[in-house]
């Protein structure tokens, strides 16, 4: 706002600060918990200043998980999560960009039908088709494998749709100019469409990486071996029973570690796609 109205300024700041606190306070408590001993956490009231167990707790979870619940090392879980999230993000982008390229630039029989078929699957998230999908994956012997973990999550109507909308904004003359220049479809895809899509790809990568990282239900079903646990599942497996038996300081440390990679992706990629958005011109 350009106007200078002190009360409006005060009010908008109050709302924003309130919002930030609401989001940030639980994160802060998580962090504080991860630096305390279990006894300190179970005190009433719980201390709200960081303790001195930071290194001890994090070393413990990274190397050997919790002592009561699952003993899987969180470092392995983070690696599994990283592989899963990256594979889902890259796979989704690769499949959907090729699918939308076909739908937008090729005239083939039943083109519209295929597009709508893809579109319809938007209405069917993983949870709806989870039992048949599990049956298929288990019959193929893909339980407890990276393929089983990622493949069923790769097809993405959303990404296909987004790429289609983006391709439709690329002027037709560009494709025609490339045809006259002698570029075949694949060459046009590689030399023109891909570079122009780099911003959309970056944005989608961020969204899909976080989507993959935060998957809960599917990894919970297909992973049984501790070595295949993802970070999100690891947190769940550390919680074993009643309040007192859970090692909250270790669980909170794991939660902190599980939050870092998605946050890093957002922060690092943000520069990329903001830069891309500013430079976009067709």
């Amino acid at each position: 706002m350009v106007e200078n109205r002190p009360w409006l300024t005060f009010f908008s700041h109050a709302v924003l600060i309130g919002g930030v606190l609401t989001v940030a306070f639980p994160l802060y408590v998580t962090f504080v918990c991860s630096t305390l001993t279990l006894e300190q956490i179970l005190q009433v009231p719980m201390p709200l200043l960081p303790g001195n167990q930071l290194l001890h707790n994090y070393r413990q979870v990274l190397a050997g998980g919790s002592t009561q619940g699952s003993g899987a090392a969180v470092s392995t879980m983070l690696l599994n999560s990283l592989i899963m999230a990256s594979a889902i993000a890259v796979g989704k982008i690769a499949i959907s960009i090729i699918a939308s390229f076909a739908i937008v630039y090729f005239r083939f029989r039943l083109r519209r039908f295929f597009f709508w078929m893809i579109f319809v699957t938007l209405m069917l998230p993983v949870e709806v088709r989870i039992i048949p999908t599990f049956k298929v994956v288990s019959d193929l012997g893909l339980l407890d494998s990276y393929v089983g973990l990622t493949l069923p999550l790769m097809a993405s109507a959303t990404a296909t749709f987004l790429f289609r909308q983006f391709f439709l904004t690329i002027p037709e003359e560009l494709a025609e100019a490339a045809r006259i220049d002698g570029a075949g479809p694949l060459r046009f895809f590689r030399d023109v469409v891909l570079p122009l899509s780099s911003t959309s790809i970056a944005a989608l990568f961020v969204i899909q990486f976080i989507y993959g990282w935060n998957q809960y239900l599917w990894p919970l079903l297909v992973t049984n071996r501790e070595s295949m646990y993802t970070a999100v599942i690891g947190i769940k497996r550390m919680i074993v029973g009643g309040d007192a038996t859970n090692e909250w300081q270790l669980i909170m440390a794991t939660a902190m570690l599980a939050m870092l990679p998605p946050a890093a992706v957002v922060v690092l990629m943000q520069k990329w796609f903001v830069k891309g958005l500013v430079e976009t011109e067709k």
């Binding site: 025609e176 006259i180 023109v192």
Partner: protein, 332 residues
């Protein structure tokens, strides 16, 4: 360089709906041909059929004596300049021009020589490293032409290349295009709806209407002897006056009307609009006999124009006659 021949070229998108009707024309090697017509007359479609971007439904397109109906655009040895330039936004000016040559598999040195030469011709040397978005409209237009030139094609195809430029730049680029054609001597097909571009650039022009050829000829020849009322009413600014008389249509150009005394008057104009342009003054009105017939007269800028009824005369040699029903020219 090559001659281009169109033989009864037709286009229909769905069966029964024809958008181009049997267009035929022989274009000599090195000729500059302008295809002129109102929007939606099919002129761009015709050009795109020559380029190979649209399929030819019936008839033949031949370039350099070779029928190219079934050839891909890249195999037709043509280059095209688009209205919106269609430059690759993520490539530098140099890469935009070099892209087609790289695909052709020319050597690095050869590509460099050609691009540098084209850049010199078009005064683009300073901008070779820039991206298209860092260029002005006129410079982008030049890059688009550069991309066509480096291919050293048999035929240049221009699809309204100047219509995205402002008026002043358009005049300048028009001059550069004419000079370029003079120097390279490449056969060129140029589509436009702007009659000034057509008149100034064309060696011969084709006037199209509703997917049909109305007239083919040299610009001044078409201006002097329009083949139909459509051509008469499309070319010239303001266009030819068309006045129904004795069951036929009389055509007279605005500049062939002159003010005279009331006794000599061959028609009288009820003036309702006067546009002084400096050198000329254009007077609009309707005839005394019929309020629905609009007439324009281009008079010298120094003429004093009386309000109300304006007596006008014309030399009989300047009169054109057209058939009232078909609109075709009647030779007397």
């Amino acid at each position: 360089m090559a001659a281009v021949a169109l033989k009864k070229v037709s286009k229909s998108y769905t069966a029964g709906v024809q958008v181009i009707h049997e267009v035929s024309m022989d274009i000599a090697d090195g000729e500059f041909i302008v295809i002129l017509g109102p929007s939606g007359c099919g002129k761009s479609t015709l050009l795109r059929m020559v380029a190979g971007l649209e399929r030819v439904s019936a008839g033949e397109v031949a370039i350099g004596g070779r029928v190219v109906n079934d050839l891909e655009p890249k195999d037709r040895d043509i280059a095209m300049v688009f209205q919106n330039y269609a430059l690759y936004p993520h490539m530098s000016v140099y890469d935009n021009m070099a892209y087609g040559l790289r695909i052709k598999g020319l050597s690095r040195d050869e590509i460099d020589t050609r691009v540098k030469r084209a850049a010199q011709t078009l005064e683009l040397e300073k901008f070779l490293d820039r991206k298209p978005r860092a260029l002005s409209g006129g410079q982008r237009q030049r890059v688009a032409m550069g991309r066509a030139i480096v291919r050293e094609p048999q035929v240049f195809l221009f699809d309204e290349p100047l219509s995205n430029l402002d008026a002043k730049l358009r005049v300048q680029m028009r001059g550069e295009l004419a000079a370029l054609h003079k120097r390279l001597g490449t056969t060129s097909l140029y589509v436009t709806h702007d009659q000034v571009e057509a008149m100034t650039l064309a060696q011969r022009m084709m006037v199209m209407n509703g997917g049909r050829v109305e007239q083919i000829g040299a610009p001044l020849g078409i201006y002097a002897r329009p083949a139909s009322t459509f051509v008469a009413g499309f070319i010239g600014s303001p266009p030819m006056n068309l006045i129904p008389r004795d069951g036929r249509t009389l055509g007279i150009r605005p500049e062939h009307l002159e003010v005279c005394s009331d006794a000599e008057a061959m028609m009288r104009l009820e003036v309702d609009l006067i546009e002084p342009l400096g050198a000329d003054t254009v007077v609009y009105g309707h005839t005394e006999r019929d309020a629905a017939v609009r007439v324009a007269a281009r008079l010298p800028g120094t003429a004093s124009i009386p309000q109300g009824r304006l007596p006008l005369r014309y030399a009989p040699a300047h009169v054109h006659w057209f058939d009232a029903a078909s609109g075709q020219r009647i030779e007397l």
